[in-house]
């Protein structure tokens, strides 16, 4: 029982409640990942629908979608601590859970290595294991630094395609998690001029002239999907299609901004800069 060692220390940190939470509900994919990365996964009693990594998390009861939580559903697992990512809701549910005197800790969202370190520290403090948190944050930062040190001077233009449903391109603009990870991995977002994820025209894809197309990894035949993409009129003329540079990565790993950020940066950087390192 690893957390027993941390007990005396936690008692100091969580002075008012003094007791270590034993029944934790984790709301939000990256929050759940952090709990497991801290080695505290056995203290979780429930998770939300977006918490799908690691696989152990999927065995926990699911209290619903992160923004559509049911108050009685959350109370039914008798939690003594609720960890939520920013924006968990609805507000009515959060208010009722506060009324029910369940301690709640909100973990601020952010798409930088510093924000991830802060998320880890918040979760670790709430769980009463700040030392483990410091270790984890340091190792994540070291992984990111190592991955970034290997990146050369080339800055490929990367287009992140969120979906290609019926041939319509939904791509990432400025201020998105996709843009943040592309820049961390030594690329440049091929799109600017709008914020968030938006459907864009075929001509805009051509004008963006991406060197690389980045997509989320889904079930199915990727060879065929890549052939479709290269035959797509919008992509056919881009350098990415001509050089067959299509990168697929697991969505939660790529965009989660959790404890696997180092792994994500290193994997994406290696794919973006194949000749280097």
């Amino acid at each position: 029982m690893t957390f027993l060692k941390a007990l005396p220390f936690a008692a100091l940190v969580l002075a008012p409640s003094a007791l270590l939470a034993e029944r934790v509900v984790s709301i939000g994919g990256s929050v759940t990942e952090i709990v497991y990365a801290l080695g505290e996964g056995d203290r979780l009693v429930a998770r939300d629908t977006t918490s799908t990594f690691p696989v152990e998390a999927e065995a926990l009861p699911d209290v619903g979608y992160v923004r559509q939580l049911s108050p009685e559903g959350v109370l039914s697992v008798a939690p003594d601590l609720i960890l939520t990512e920013a924006g968990a809701g609805p507000i009515e549910t959060m208010d009722l859970l506060r009324d029910a005197a369940i301690p709640m800790v909100e973990v601020a969202e952010g798409y930088t290595p510093e924000a991830v370190a802060l998320k880890i520290a918040t979760v670790a403090d709430a769980l009463g294991v700040p030392e483990k948190g410091a270790d984890l944050a340091a190792s994540v930062q070291a992984e990111i630094d190592a991955a970034r040190a290997a990146i050369g001077s080339e800055r490929p233009r990367v287009l992140f395609v969120l979906s290609l449903a019926s041939g319509r391109v939904m791509a990432a603009g400025a201020d998105t998690s996709a843009e943040a990870i592309i820049e961390l991995a030594g690329g440049v977002n091929a799109l600017d001029g709008y914020e968030g994820y938006k459907q864009i025209s075929d001509e805009a894809v051509m004008a963006a002239a991406p060197d690389v197309v980045l997509m989320m990894d889904r079930e199915g035949d990727h060879a065929a999907a890549n052939a479709d993409l290269m035959a797509h009129p919008a992509f056919a003329a881009t350098p990415a299609a001509q050089n067959e540079r299509i990168i697929r990565m697991d969505g939660l790993l790529l965009l989660g901004f959790g404890p696997r950020l180092g792994e994500a940066v290193s994997q994406l950087a290696a794919d973006l800069h194949p000749g280097e390192g």
Binding site: P61, Q68, G73, S76, D95, A101, G196
Partner: protein, 356 residues
């Protein structure tokens, strides 16, 4: 227009007595379902534990108190009121348009309320922070209610000329308005980010999960207004079934009745949609079932529809709470999933029976 004029005097007596018995049966059923709903939920907490402790003056477990008094109880009240309001509004609209297919959506309340809610979800962040904070989670319901009200006033104004409201014009203008509202909603959907899209989708599926005492306090008077006001229209609606001209000859102030009907439906459905989102079907299925059972006379039809509407919504909400516990399945899905096939079965059975 369809078979609502068959108030045969011979069968009237039998049906009136049967309708009265139905009212008693439905009241008992609603009472049973209401009490049951206090026992059903993901936590398995029993209201006895809380009530017993309260009566004995003992301290009550906080979580148990919140579950019974702040989650299940307001939800019971909200579900019953929303179900009754939607069903009663359905009866009034069907009587006014003399068409069993009319539902509250026909006067544009639902579409307008939907647009209001969508705008609040997508554009809510643009409000001055002070105003946004003051409204809090009331923002979406308030916007939905305002949206519903505006579209009803618009439709009523378009359809009224020289103090006469044409229900046919109202119907057609309603279709035009629905197209416009759909387009504006589309603009909002285009502007929305991913999380807002999820919120929009869930709002459209309907839920009683957000029922709180403060919301209930605001929405209750409006829904009660509709439920209590509708029976006053019963006689006029019965007469209107013979046609507008005949009703006018029989001394009914048709224009006044239309105005009251529109106000009642706008207030009660506006409030119901605002607090529960998109819950369909109650307004059509409930009155139709009762019309098959106890006949078209509006007096008993309105009362029985209120009772059955409340009962059905509470039953659906109980399923919604426990079927995927600890998560929750939106009630709109359950209503349509059960209501659709059931209604179809009733229609098929009736068709076979009548040999039409």
């Amino acid at each position: 227009m369809v078979a609502m004029t068959d108030i045969g005097t011979a069968s009237l007596g039998d049906r009136t007595r049967f309708a009265r018995r139905t009212t008693v049966a439905l009241t008992v059923l609603l009472a049973i379902v209401s009490v049951t709903s206090l026992f059903v939920g993901a936590t398995g907490i029993s209201p006895f534990a809380v009530v017993g402790a309260l009566l004995a003056g003992e301290p009550v477990d906080t979580a148990a108190r919140v579950v019974i008094l702040d989650i299940r109880l307001p939800r019971l009240a909200m579900g019953a009121l929303v179900g009754a309001a939607l069903a009663v509004a359905g009866v009034v609209m069907q009587g006014l348009f003399r068409n069993p297919l009319a539902d509250p959506g026909i006067v544009g309340v639902s579409a307008g309320a939907g647009l209001g809610a969508i705008m609040a979800i997508v554009l809510g962040g643009l409000l001055p922070p002070a105003l946004g904070a003051a409204l809090g989670y009331a923002l979406v319901p308030v916007a939905a209610f305002v949206g519903g009200g505006i579209s009803v006033i618009l439709l009523y104004t378009v359809a009224t000329k020289n103090g006469q409201t044409s229900v046919a014009t109202m119907l057609l203008a309603g279709i035009a308005l629905a197209a416009l509202v759909g387009a504006l909603s589309g603009v909002m959907v285009y502007m929305a980010d991913d999380t807002q899209l999820r919120d929009l989708t869930f709002w459209g599926l309907g839920s009683l999960a957000g029922a709180t005492w403060s919301k209930l306090l605001v929405a209750m008077p409006l829904m009660v207004l509709g439920i209590v006001g509708a029976p006053l229209l019963a006689r006029s609606l019965d007469t209107l079934a013979l046609g507008e001209v005949a009703a006018r000859h029989m001394g009914i102030d048709i224009q006044r009745m239309k105005r009251i009907a529109v106000v009642i439906v706008a207030a009660s459905v506006g409030a119901a949609v605002a607090v529960s989102g998109g819950i369909g079907f109650v307004g059509i299925v409930v009155p139709h079932l009762l019309r098959l059972l106890t006949g078209p006379a509006h007096g008993p039809l309105i009362i029985n529809s209120a009772l059955l509407g409340a009962t059905i919504l509470l039953l659906a909400d109980m399923i919604s709470r426990v079927i995927v516990a600890p998560a929750e399945l939106p009630i709109g899905i359950i209503m349509a999933l059960i209501g659709g096939p059931f209604f179809l079965w009733v229609l098929l059975k009736r068709r076979g029976f009548a040999g039409v």
